[in-house]
Each structure stands twice: as structure tokens, then as C-alpha cells.
């Protein structure tokens, strides 16, 4: 196994961004979430037109130490919750995904033009990056299944006691700025705004 980072490019036409997810991000109450909200549908189409869903990922061997220690490809870390999530795993995928800078620009524009558009875009962008992650996840799952193995739930830096500081390590091994234009700011927040990085355990 070598360390070459792979690039994934989402197919916008095939990608499903569920309207109900967008509605949920907008704070619609459960009863109000019904199919066919014209505003939401239009925003989803708009986002699909500007987003460029991309990710970098790579698979690494995994081992543990102490009670809550994990040997990550970038160094040794401690996290009880991630350790629990990775129980039974022998390898991990690391990935970082984004829907691209054009979305951020559209959002900045909307902030000046119209708050309603900005809020709708914001919610739709959040649903869009989740959709990209789900699609990538499904692809990695196929890969694992073909080897008779299964994947655990994805776990991101900042969840529970898996510290946000791990972003630095993830970025140092995946180098997403080079491949998909995704960079890490000093605050450990990613730019473009709608981006996700995570660990996925491979069991078996």
C-alpha cells in the first residue's frame, strides 16, 4: 500500500440533494417539511449549477496504543470517542471534500443582494456537501465490500474528543489544497466554506 492520494469528482447530475434536508437546515418545523417547496427546489438547481464537488482520499494502516491512543498516518493521537468508533478496524480512510470556491463567491454575492437568497444558499450548500460526502462514502463502501470488509461511520475532527487540531495532520497527508483547492485556515476552519474532512474506519 502506498500513499498516493486519490481524487474523486462528484457527478452533479447524479447527485441527490434532498429538499427536506435543506428545509431542516433552514429551521422548518417537521410538519412544514413537505416536498416541492419551489424556493428550495430552485436553489438546489442553482447550487448544482455552480458547485464542483471534489474530494481527496487515501487509505492507511491503523493501529492503537494505550487505552485511547490511535496511530494516525500523521502521528499518535488520543481520543476515546474516535477509538470507540474505530473498534475492530485495521485500516482507515482519510478524506477531505468540498463543493468549491464558486459556491462561496455566490454566497458572498447573495449576502449583499438578498438575505433570503443567502440563507437559502447557506442551507442548500450544507446539504450539498453532505450529499458529496455520502456519495464518496458509498464509493468507498463498494471498494471495501469488494474485499469483504465494511466501513464504520465517518468521524470528523471536532466531533467529541477528536480534537479539531487533527485537521493539521489530515491536511499534511492529504494535501487537498493542491488537488482540490481546499485549504486550512489558521483557525483550523476550512476554506472554501462548505467542506468536510473525516476519518472512516475499515473493519475486517
Amino acid at each position: 500500500m502506498d500513499n498516493t492520494v486519490h481524487t474523486y469528482i462528484a457527478d452533479n447530475d447524479a447527485l441527490l440533494i434532498p429538499g427536506r434536508e435543506v428545509a431542516r437546515y433552514l429551521g422548518y418545523s417537521r410538519e412544514a417539511i413537505i416536498a416541492g417547496d419551489e424556493l428550495i427546489d430552485r436553489t438546489i438547481e442553482k447550487v448544482k449549477g455552480i458547485m464542483a464537488g471534489k474530494a481527496v482520499y487515501c487509505r492507511y494502516p491503523l493501529s492503537f496504543f494505550d487505552e485511547d491512543g490511535i496511530v494516525m498516518p500523521y502521528g499518535r493521537i488520543h481520543s476515546t470517542q474516535l477509538r470507540e468508533n474505530l473498534t475492530g478496524c485495521t485500516e482507515i480512510y482519510l478524506f477531505a471534500a468540498t463543493i468549491g470556491a464558486a459556491f462561496d463567491r455566490e454566497l458572498t454575492r447573495a449576502r449583499v443582494r438578498s438575505l433570503a437568497d443567502a440563507a437559502l444558499l447557506q442551507a442548500t450548500g450544507a446539504a450539498a456537501i453532505e450529499a458529496v460526502c455520502d456519495d464518496l462514502n458509498a464509493r468507498l463502501e463498494m471498494e471495501a465490500l469488494s474485499e469483504g470488509r465494511k466501513l464504520h461511520r465517518r468521524f470528523s475532527p471536532g466531533y467529541g474528543d477528536f480534537e479539531l487540531d487533527n485537521q493539521k495532520g489530515l491536511f499534511s497527508v492529504l494535501n487537498p489544497s493542491k488537488y482540490i483547492g481546499l485549504s486550512l485556515m489558521d483557525t483550523l476552519i476550512m476554506s472554501p466554506e462548505k467542506s468536510v474532512s473525516a476519518v472512516i474506519g475499515v473493519e475486517g
Binding site: M1, D2, N3, T4, H6, I9, L26, G27, Y28, S29, A32, E38, L39, I40, A52, C58, Y60, P73, Y74, G100, A101, A102, D104, R105, T108, R109, R111, V112, R113, S114, L115, A116, A118, A119, L120, Q122, G158, L164, G169, F171, S172, V173, N175, S177, K178, Y179, I180, G181, S183, L184, M185, D186, T187, L188, I189, S191, P192, E193
Partner: protein, 831 residues
């Protein structure tokens, strides 16, 4: 032979990939390859040596990520670069003296005679502001350190490579140019043939040639076959030699090993096609090996390179796209220029950037190709405001800008910061001005507007103006500025003062076109100064000017007369395919004519179910209330303007229509009958109505009443500001005066502002758990330094409990609650 002479002579060959070779030699994930220059010098020298044996001319030093962010230790960066350059030179020395490396016996027959070392500079791995958090000048400084370290070791050229953002490339080029060495740029395009931040190849050519690179091209990301379209575009527009360094196709995993799918023979076959398109600097990137490069050189050596030629395209650009002059007339929106615009003057004085940005976006909607930016007012700091306006406009609007100033400091600072290749307004025939402006245009690139005026004034004949234009072309050439980068403005002057003036200007346009084949631009509307109904004359003069060869007009794209002239001209001159733009324009024209008629009926698509307006006392206000409730933004602005011109007082509109309308929607929101987008559409509509009121107030020189002043800020470390902006707009709609400090605001700035402005209420927002401590710190500092000030907090992570814990005075769960709180708070305060 100098590398630049080598480029002129024929093909020049770069080496290939490095990462795959180092990984095979044991480089680990996350390990910095640049360290291998010192730790495994033998591996690096061996790699260079193998490439030289395959016939390459230029070695890239193993310094892709060598910058002070990655190597911050004292002398660390310099050490790495010195070793890297040393490794390249050692390999060259071995090959040139035909001395095989230890333990090898090699065939030197394919090695070339001329070898060069390129200091290799890759991207910094951080996005520049406004997308990311790295400041342009910081990026420049970081690159400059790498450049200096490279210069100290004696390299032959600087290669800036794999850039996927044109702005970062600009910072790197400016730093590299400080060395006086030849500078090459290659950028990485994605599968849609754009950089990750949006620029297409033509735009990259415009910007890079403007900044004076010696060769430019493409590398990484794609295999040679996927690059063909990019190479075509580069060769069509670039006057400098084109570089192509592709990957060996795409990587895939095979039995746990990464393999690239293009083999040496296939690579060579594709590179023949690329050479045939006109590229003359060829090499490889990820996955290519000495075998790939050797096979390529073996084939391309047999070919004749396409001759280099000066391309005659006049281009300017933003960070995503370019605009070409000389095809159809280009529209330059004139609305961001305070001359004669009271509302804009007021916005500039009050630092109301939103208004300026809205003017930009509005002109973009009205089909301007370029925006003029002039912020000159005697009472403001023009350089500072110019940089701010340019940066902020570029954050929201992707049209190229025309930097319009007579202040050389403002000009230089804006040109430096500008993301793309701008228009520069202006230079003229005065020696003094040319001396000031030409060096700036040469250094930063741009299309220069040249006014036909000199020490003697404006000539009263067309021939006199042509003569000044010629003089400017000549002087510019002495600075190395090409004629294609100059656009002459023969000056339109009012016909009410000088009856012959239109005729002279039109003749001058024709002469410049016919005698010099030059480009021309005009501030069209000056022609009618002092006349009534100026648009009517302007429209006709615009048509006449275009008939005489005008290439660009500074004009108001919101003027129907001007657009009528423009769209008709383009359709008649076959510059509008299938008259599509003209047909699109007729729809807008009709819509505008209809909205100018008294408001009747409602185009509302979303019925605001069962809304009762019985609380509205003044019947004239009911249509406006209905419009705001339904969230129809444009209509709300227009209706308000009508009411104002029918002499309804501004305060009556606010209190009698806007606030009641917002209350109707706000109550629906609180009762969960109305959802966020509807609430916000109403807020947008109310804002549009307020804009009309502000216009009226500015025109009459009055001031708007305020219900209280407060500060809003998203706390330090947090960059999410939509929630805060929602609160801001609602507060403003309700008549509060909001000082918006933006996002990621340090506690000190908040406290300082509160004290200075004597503010009694501060609203803080935080979206992430990680930034709650910053909020707590802000409140603590406020309590300490400015105890009479109260705080209210909100945001996704906030809860009433959290708020209490960090000693906030009030938790507000949403924007409506914040409005209610502010009303309650200021009601109890003496104004």
C-alpha cells in the same frame, strides 16, 4: 546561452515528475520531500542525473513546498534551498563532465548541451483572502523569502508551478520579478479547463503577460490528452513561449501500488501533438519518469517548432474571465463615481460599502462588461478607500474593473491588490503624468486609458488629438508597453459649451481607428452636460460614436436610451448572434416600461395566506404593506419611490407601512406559520424600500432618524456571518442604527468601538462551540472597560444556559427576538 535565447532558438525540455520517484525510494505520507535534499542528497542527485541523461535542459529544484511556513527555523529554508540547488548543479556537473555517479556506468549520448536550474516554487497551500485567510502581501513576503534564498544560490530562472489560483500566482510573480531572473509560470487546470478558483486559460495569459512573465503554460492535474483544449487556448492568446508539463495520465491503484495510465510511448505520441499546436517548452509532472521524458524528446527533436508571434488580442480580466476589446463595443459601468451622485458621496463618507457593492452588482445585472471604480472625494483617504472598494467589489462581483484615479498612490495600491488585469484610467499626454503612470502599468499590467490632453490643453481639432495619441503610443513603447494595451479617449465635451465638440470627437475616433488601428473609449454622457433630458442626446451620440469605431464606452447601463442604442447597433452590425441579446433586451425594456406605469395588479406568486391589513390606517400604504409581506423586492423599492414623490413623509412610510408589514411577517415567524426564507424576503423588500427613502433623504440633504445605536459582531475566530447579517437587516428595518464590525472580530476592537462611539448595547454572534470562549472573553473585557454597556448573544451554539454562564445580559434565540429586545432596551433609555 541564456535560457531566454534558448527558448527563441527552438524546443526546450523540462524534466518530469518527482513525487512518484521519491515515494518509490521510501518517502512517507506527510513527510516533507524538501528535507530529502539534505537527508538523501544521493537520491535527489540521482533523479536529476537520470533526467539529464534522457536529454532535458531545465531541472526543477526539489523545492516545491520550500517556504518559511513549512521551514520556519532560523536558516532552515535557506539551507534546504541551498542543498536543493546544489543537488541540481552536482548532477549537471557530473553529466557535463561525463563522470558517471558512483557505482554506475552510463550512456551520455542523449544528454543535451545546455542545462539550466529552475528554482521551483509551488503554491503555499493556503487560499488568499477573501476566500481564505492569507493576505496578499503576506503571500508576497513568503514567496519573496524563497526567491531571495534561490537567488543567493545562483539559479538560472524561477519556475512558479501548479498554481491553481491566479491571485496567488500574481503574488508569486511579483516576488519572483524582484530577482530580475527570467520568470516562468505554469498553472494547474481541472477537468473543466479552469483553475480551481475559476480562471480560464485566456485569463491566465492576460494576467501573467501583464505582469511580465517570460513563458507560461500548464502543468499537473491532467494527462496530455486531457490538456489539448487548454494548449489550444494558450497558443492562441499567448505571445510568450508556451510550456506544457502534463501528468502521465491519471493515477489508479493496482495491487496496492499506484500506477499512472499513460506509458512512455503514449506520452511521447501525445506530446508530438502538443508540440504541433505551438508549445515549445515541454516536460512532465506527476507520474512521468526519465523514460517518459526520454521518449518524448526522442520524438519531438525531429520536429520544427512553430514560430513565436506577437498576438494582437487586447484583453483585460477579473479572476474568472477576460474581456476582449476590438470585437463589439465594451460597456463600462459609470455608476461607481461620486461626480454628481449625492447618494454615493454620502456612502463614501459613511464607509457604507454595501451601497457601493450593490451599485456594482446592479450594473452587472444591467449587462455592464466592466465597472469603473472612482472613489475620489476631497474629505476621504482615497488610497485606502480605493483598495477597500476594489477588494470588496472583487469579493462579490466577477466583472473586470477600471481603476479610475488621478492619485498615483491610490493607483499603485489598487493595481497591486487587483485580482486580474484591470483597465487603468488614466494617463494623458503630459510628460509628468506619463512618467508617473507608465512604470505602474508596466509593472502590474493593465489596459491604459489615454486621454488626448497634454500641457497645452485639449486640442480643438481631431488631428491635434490624434497627434497626442501618437505621442503617448511612442512614449509608452519606450517603457515596453505595447500599443494593444492602450485605449485612447479622445474626450467627449459638452455641446452646450462648444457646438463643434461632438463633431471633433467623432472625427478623432475615426482618425485613431483608421490611421493608427487604435482602440478608443469615451465617457459618452459628458456630451450632453447642461442640456435637459440628457439621455436622449446621449443615446444618439453613442450610436454615432460606435459608427465611428468606438471600442468602449463609459456609460450608465441602467439608461434605457443608451441600452437601446447599444443593442440596436450590435444587432444591426451583426455583432449579436441571432439578435439574441437584442431580443432579451426588449423583454427588459417592456418590463421597465410596465413598472414605470402606476402600480396595478400583483405579480405575487406566493400568496400570503389570509393576511389582514386592517391595522393599516392610511389606505395609500396598503399596496406597499402587501408588497413587503409578499417579499417582492423590486416592487417595494418602486412603490416607496412613488409614495415619496406623492409627498408621503418618509417617517409615515416607515411607521405606517414598513414596520407594520414586518410585524405581520415577524409574528407569523414567531408562530411558525412563516419560515425563514419568507421572513428574509420581506426583510429584503423592506431594505429596498429603505434604499428608496435613503435616496430621497440624500437628495434633499436630510438625515434619517434613529431609534438607537448598537454594535453587532461575530466573535473572533468565527467566520460565519449570515445569522448576524439577518439580525442586522431586521434591526435596520426597524429603525435602529447598526455599527456592523463584521466577522472574526477581536474583543479589543469591539470594546474600543463601544467606548469611542458611546454604545450601550452590543450584540455578539457565534456559530461554533470553539468560538464561545472568544465570546466570553469579549463580554469580560466589556464589563471591565465599559461596564455601562449591555450584551445580547445569539447563534447556533448559544443557549440561555450558555449565555448565563458567560455573563451575557440576554440570550436572543433569533432575529425577531433581538429586535424585540432592542425595542425594549432603547425604550427605557433617554435618547
Amino acid at each position: 546561452m541564456n535560457i531566454l535565447d534558448h527558448l527563441k532558438k527552438g524546443f526546450t525540455y523540462f524534466d518530469g515528475g518527482c513525487g512518484t520517484i521519491l515515494q518509490a525510494a521510501g518517502l512517507k505520507a506527510g513527510e516533507l520531500p524538501e528535507r530529502w535534499n539534505t537527508e538523501h542528497a544521493d537520491v535527489i542527485q540521482g533523479m536529476h542525473y537520470d533526467y539529464l541523461l534522457s536529454g532535458v535542459n531545465i531541472l526543477k529544484t526539489n523545492t516545491f513546498g520550500a517556504n518559511i511556513m513549512k521551514f520556519p527555523g532560523e536558516g532552515e529554508l535557506e539551507g534546504i534551498i541551498k542543498a536543493a540547488v546544489g543537488n541540481a548543479k552536482a548532477a549537471i556537473a557530473a553529466v557535463e563532465s561525463r563522470t558517471p555517479l558512483a557505482g554506475r556506468s552510463d550512456d551520455f549520448s542523449k544528454a543535451s548541451g545546455e542545462h539550466y536550474v529552475a528554482l521551483d516554487i509551488g503554491p503555499l497551500g493556503k487560499l488568499l483572502k477573501p476566500l481564505g485567510d492569507l493576505d496578499f502581501e503576506e503571500a508576497y513576503e513568503i514567496f519573496l523569502q524563497t526567491v531571495k534564498a534561490g537567488m543567493a544560490c545562483g539559479v538560472d530562472l524561477i519556475l512558479i508551478e501548479t498554481m491553481n489560483d491566479i491571485y496567488e500566482a500574481k503574488a508569486a510573480i511579483l516576488a519572483a520579478k524582484e530577482s530580475a531572473l527570467p520568470v516562468f509560470l505554469t498553472t494547474a487546470y481541472d477537468e473543466s479547463h479552469k483553475l480551481l478558483t475559476g480562471a480560464d486559460p485566456r485569463t491566465v495569459v492576460a494576467v501573467a503577460e501583464g505582469l511580465g512573465v517570460d513563458a507560461l503554460g500548464v502543468n499537473c492535474s491532467l494527462g496530455p490528452d486531457e490538456m489539448m483544449g487548454i494548449v489550444d487556448e494558450l497558443c492562441e492568446y499567448a505571445s510568450v513561449p508556451v510550456i506544457v508539463n502534463p501528468n502521465a495520465g491519471l493515477p489508479r491503484t493496482e495491487g496496492g501500488k499506484t500506477v499512472y495510465d499513460v506509458l512512455p510511448e503514449g506520452f511521447a505520441a501525445s506530446m508530438i501533438k502538443i508540440a504541433d499546436k505551438g508549445a515549445r517548452v515541454l516536460g512532465g509532472c506527476c507520474g512521468t519518469t526519465p523514460a517518459h521524458i526520454g521518449a518524448m524528446i526522442g520524438e519531438v527533436r525531429k520536429m520544427e517548432p512553430k514560430p513565436l508571434s506577437e498576438k494582437q488580442h487586447t484583453l483585460i480580466s477579473s479572476y474568472t474571465h477576460s474581456v476582449e476589446f476590438g470585437i463589439r463595443p465594451i460597456l463600462i459601468g459609470e455608476r461607481i463615481n461620486p461626480t454628481g451622485k449625492k447618494r454615493l458621496k454620502e456612502a463614501l463618507r459613511n464607509d457604507d460599502m454595501d451601497y457601493i457593492l450593490q451599485q456594482g452588482l446592479l450594473q452587472q445585472d444591467q449587462h455592464a462588461d466592466v465597472l469603473d471604480v472612482n472613489v475620489g472625494l476631497p474629505e476621504i483617504d482615497e488610497p485606502e478607500m480605493m483598495v477597500k472598494a476594489v477588494s470588496q467589489l472583487q469579493a462579490v462581483c466577477d466583472l473586470p474593473l477600471q481603476i479610475d484615479t488621478t492619485d498615483p498612490v491610490a493607483m499603485e495600491r489598487a493595481l497591486r491588490r487587483y485580482n486580474g488585469k484591470p483597465m487603468i484610467n488614466s494617463v494623458n499626454g503630459k510628460e509628468e503624468v506619463m512618467k508617473q503612470v507608465f512604470p505602474l502599468a508596466k509593472k502590474y499590467g493593465g489596459l491604459l486609458v489615454a486621454l488626448t490632453i497634454d500641457e497645452e490643453g485639449i486640442p480643438t481639432t481631431a488631428e491635434g488629438r490624434l497627434k497626442i495619441a501618437r505621442n503617448i503610443y511612442e512614449k509608452a513603447a519606450e517603457y515596453g508597453i505595447k500599443k494593444k494595451d492602450i485605449i485612447v479617449d479622445p474626450l467627449a465635451m459638452s455641446i452646450s459649451a462648444e457646438p463643434e465638440s461632438a463633431k471633433i470627437t467623432l472625427d478623432a475616433l475615426r482618425l485613431i481607428r483608421e490611421e493608427e488601428d487604435g482602440l478608443t473609449s469615451l465617457g459618452v454622457s459628458n456630451i450632453s452636460f447642461g442640456l435637459p433630458k440628457r439621455d436622449l442626446v446621449n443615446g444618439t451620440f453613442f450610436t454615432m460614436a460606435m459608427m465611428n469605431g468606438l471600442s468602449a464606452a463609459i456609460m450608465n447601463p441602467g439608461s434605457m436610451e443608451m441600452m437601446k442604442a447599444y443593442r440596436s447597433f450590435c444587432a444591426l452590425k451583426a455583432l449579436d448572434e441571432n439578435c439574441m441579446d437584442y431580443i432579451g433586451f426588449t423583454d427588459e425594456y417592456e418590463a421597465l416600461a410596465a413598472s414605470a406605469a402606476p402600480a396595478a395588479g400583483s405579480e405575487a406568486k406566493k400568496p400570503a395566506a389570509a393576511v389582514s391589513y386592517e391595522g393599516i390606517k392610511d389606505e395609500r400604504l396598503i399596496p406597499l404593506v402587501d408588497t413587503v409581506v409578499k417579499g417582492l423586492k423590486e416592487k417595494a423599492g418602486a412603490l416607496t419611490a412613488e409614495l415619496l414623490s406623492a409627498d408621503v413623509a418618509a417617517m409615515d412610510i416607515i411607521d405606517g407601512a414598513l414596520i407594520p408589514a414586518l410585524d405581520i411577517v415577524g409574528k407569523g415567524f414567531e408562530a411558525k406559520r412563516v419560515f425563514l426564507p419568507q421572513l428574509l424576503m420581506s426583510a429584503d423588500s423592506a431594505s429596498a424600500a429603505f434604499e428608496s427613502i435613503k435616496d430621497k433623504i440624500a437628495a434633499s440633504g436630510g438625515k434619517q432618524e434613529s431609534k438607537g445605536r448598537l454594535i453587532l459582531a461575530t466573535v473572533k475566530g468565527d467566520i460565519h456571518d449570515i445569522g448576524k447579517n439577518i439580525v442586522k437587516v431586521l434591526l435596520e428595518n426597524y429603525g435602529f442604527d447598526v455599527i456592523d464590525l463584521g466577522k472574526d472580530v477581536p474583543p479589543e476592537l469591539i470594546v474600543e468601538t463601544a467606548v469611542r462611539e458611546n454604545i450601550k448595547l452590543v450584540g455578539l454572534s457565534a456559530l461554533m462551540t470553539t468560538t464561545v470562549p472568544a465570546m466570553e472573553e469579549t463580554i469580560k473585557l466589556l464589563h471591565e472597560k465599559w461596564p455601562e454597556c449591555k450584551t445580547c448573544v445569539g447563534g447556533a451554539v448559544m443557549t440561555p444556559e450558555y449565555a448565563k454562564m458567560i455573563n451575557a445580559d440576554r440570550y436572543c434565540k433569533d432575529a425577531m427576538e433581538t429586535v424585540r429586545f432592542a425595542e425594549e432596551f432603547f425604550a427605557g433609555m433617554p435618547c
